[in-house]
Symmetry: C2
């Protein structure tokens, strides 16, 4: 058996504490699989006194994670602090600069500084592993960086935020409003007190930005993502979707197009009977379409201390199994210097099907006008349903119309909706939800 | 850029030809990702003259794959010959013995000789990679061997044979008999002229045996698998399953129990609305339940030249990205010498739900007798349906009864069914299908 792999862990929140627990309790199992033991020699967190249910006495304590990263005692620095700023950034930089491998679960850090950090890791000949940063326990980084080597990805999409998916699933199952389900998610600890980051899609965007770089060999461009959250989704949308054979999910989608690469996060209608359409609650799922392999879909726990710790443990084990100092391959799939600038596809050029739900005055000619505006914008319809349920009780003088289009463009849909609104018969803002279909089998 | 990685490919069937094509056409892409080019320096196949649509002129031709494996010219020997016997076995042994990395898609070879070959690879400090041997393009070997390191697996199950799944899906969709759908699969090239290996579960068993070893750290025990094929599944079973909210899939299941490890391949009822229940046609899927990560499900193309070539390409790229001669970790997840003997759980002790379909004489007391035999064997019922559809037209003097049990044992079910048959009112053999449920979310 070789020398132990010595690791330092910065950040002892839910994930950090779970990681310490599994690394200690599976010491022998890991040593057998890796050919050498994994030893936690140092830790760092804000509060030394907090009871985390783990025994830290054998580990050197650092108040400052940057000091921990700089110690010559460790082979691997595990960053579980979070956030794109200091101390996480400086700590990771310090570790890499000293030729220490880094394992991180920090999506915000990678979304903002990933290319620079990958370049630094390459320069120093060390590994930068970040399986836990995207979709928790699902090994999607490994699949993209390793298994798909040599493939050309055409599209990837996924449910990458458990909070948003829990809320949407609960709305559907219980028939409750967004607000009520958000409260329930907060009560159960699935949503933060300030849920903005999860429900408005920012968290999904960070993860998507990392996957896009891996998929298309482009620089990470988290600020170039079209973003739309789920707070605007009503129970009426969910019921109408259900009637038409769809479910609504918050998807992150990246897709190669003729004019560039689309990156978008928005509520999306997916077919009910698709694999991605069956992903409920806090579970995550990612689908990757590539030209040699075909369509690969992975689903599993996207968050939680244990699942995230499992991904971090896998990253550490990968380092332990190699001899120290061995570079396996670049962190972002190809050398950081060879990543090409991200070219954003215009959202107006996005092609796909659309769901449009509009409440209108119940008077003669409205239906004909809607149909005309669709035709004027060369939008052909898959279905058109006049719905009286829920929002439009008889005698209310209003009606709800639900349209599902065949493939068209975002620009056409926007123009058609604008024309309807300009005609003055719409009540409230029309709801527009994009449809994403799995590749035909 | 470092020295090229030189590979030799033995076997130029569908997968071999697809592999040559992608390695040549993605030369630059692979070189960038791997840090060095991948060069095919030698090939071997039975017929040198056959037109495979690929240019082999730059490669040395070997009539004998064992001679190719022995050449000092290659760093990696890619075995795509197939079969557990020679020349595949001797060729792989020859390559490993000479310290040459091996990549293989050969499930039969690994199911029979995997432990010995893994030990040889370890002894020589080379890699034995076999992602393509199980579930085609799905990176399940990498997930189990690398991502799940440190986890304890409790159960894994999957759809690992595209032919069988295509036939079951077609029966369901078209309402046709097994025989008709098998013919259709043969016409489309999804089933072989002799389909026994696919439809009787042997192919699934080979793959399951490999996964079981990786999951539980046991020696590969392909001969210890309970095996039941799908040729006995009728359209009545499929309709009854559908009525009850299930679909029938040919699953391979491995599960840790108190008395040992179950390995079984049989037609299985899975809930219609589960992810695994949504896997149609030739697609494969594998679910893995482990204690730290939770439930991970992967689905994708389980066969076909390109998807399989993609998995082989990923295995080759893993070797190219390491420096030559570096051992990453043992082929079967832990050192071959540390694998424990497989302890077979008795099939009679299997616990789970059961579907029982029995045609009976339409006379007084039969129903009561069935219920009594269930009670005698302490089987409690989730549902009992008397079905007139399909097999039992009115006035035929017969009736079909469908029972779904709560969790019980195989021994109890067999005893109850035997008692019904002994009573003399059953017509034909009762159909018994095991139910497998995903872990509760």
């Amino acid at each position: 058996m070789s020398e132990p792999l010595k690791i330092g862990i910065a950040g002892l929140g839910t994930v950090g504490a779970a990681l310490v627990h599994v690394l200690v309790s599976r010491y022998a199992l890991l040593a057998e699989a890796c050919g050498r033991p994994i030893e936690i020699v140092a830790v760092s967190a804000r509060d030394r006194e907090r009871n985390r249910g783990i025994d830290l006495r054998a580990m050197t304590w650092f108040d400052d994670p940057i000091e921990l990263a700089k110690t010559g005692e460790i082979d691997v620095f595990v960053e579980l602090i979070g956030g794109a700023a200091d101390p996480a950034l400086s700590a990771v930089e310090a570790a890499l600069s000293r030729g220490i491998h880094v394992v991180t679960a920090n999506k915000a850090l990678l979304a903002k500084h990933g290319v620079r950090l990958a370049a630094l890791a390459e320069e120093k000949g060390v590994l930068l592993n970040f399986e836990a940063a995207v979709a928790g326990g699902i090994p999607v980084i490994k699949a993209m960086r390793e298994s798909l080597t040599g493939n050309r990805v055409s599209r990837l999409y996924g449910i990458m935020n458990g909070t948003a998916n829990y809320i949407l699933t609960t709305m559907e199952r219980e028939g409750l409003s967004f607000e009520a389900c958000l409260k329930e998610a907060q009560r159960l600890g699935y949503a933060e007190a300030d849920p903005t980051f999860d429900i408005e899609g920012n968290d999904t965007a960070h993860k998507l930005a990392i996957l896009t770089s891996l998929a298309f060999g482009t620089e990470i461009a988290a600020d170039d993502i079209y973003l739309e959250g789920i707070s605007n989704i009503s129970i009426d949308d969910i019921c109408a979707a259900d009637d038409l054979g769809y479910r609504i999910k918050l998807l992150g989608v990246a897709q190669r197009t003729d004019s560039g690469i689309e990156q978008r996060v928005h509520p999306t209608m997916v077919p009910k009977d698709s694999v991605i359409g069956r992903v409920d609650g806090v579970t995550n799922a990612v689908a990757i379409e590539s030209d040699v392999l075909g369509e690969l879909i992975m689903s599993g726990p996207g968050a939680g201390g244990d699942a995230t710790a499992s991904a971090v443990m896998g990253d550490i084990a990968d380092i332990a199994k190699s001899r120290p100092g061995i570079q396996h391959g670049p962190a972002l799939g190809k050398p950081a210097a060879k990543l090409v600038p991200y070219k954003r596809a215009k959202m107006r050029s996005h092609e796909g099907g659309y769901f449009i739900r509009v409440t209108v005055q119940d008077k003669a000619g409205v239906f004909a006008s809607i149909a005309t505006h669709m035709a004027e914008n060369t939008i052909s319809l898959e279905s058109i349903v006049q719905r009286a349920k829920h929002t439009s009780p008889a005698g209310s003088g209003r009606q709800t119309v639900v349209l599902v289009t065949h493939a068209t463009t975002e620009a056409s849909v926007r123009a058609a909706v604008q024309a309807m609104v300009a005609d003055g018969y719409t009540i409230g803002a029309p709801q527009v939800i994009r449809i994403e279909r799995p590749k035909a089998a």
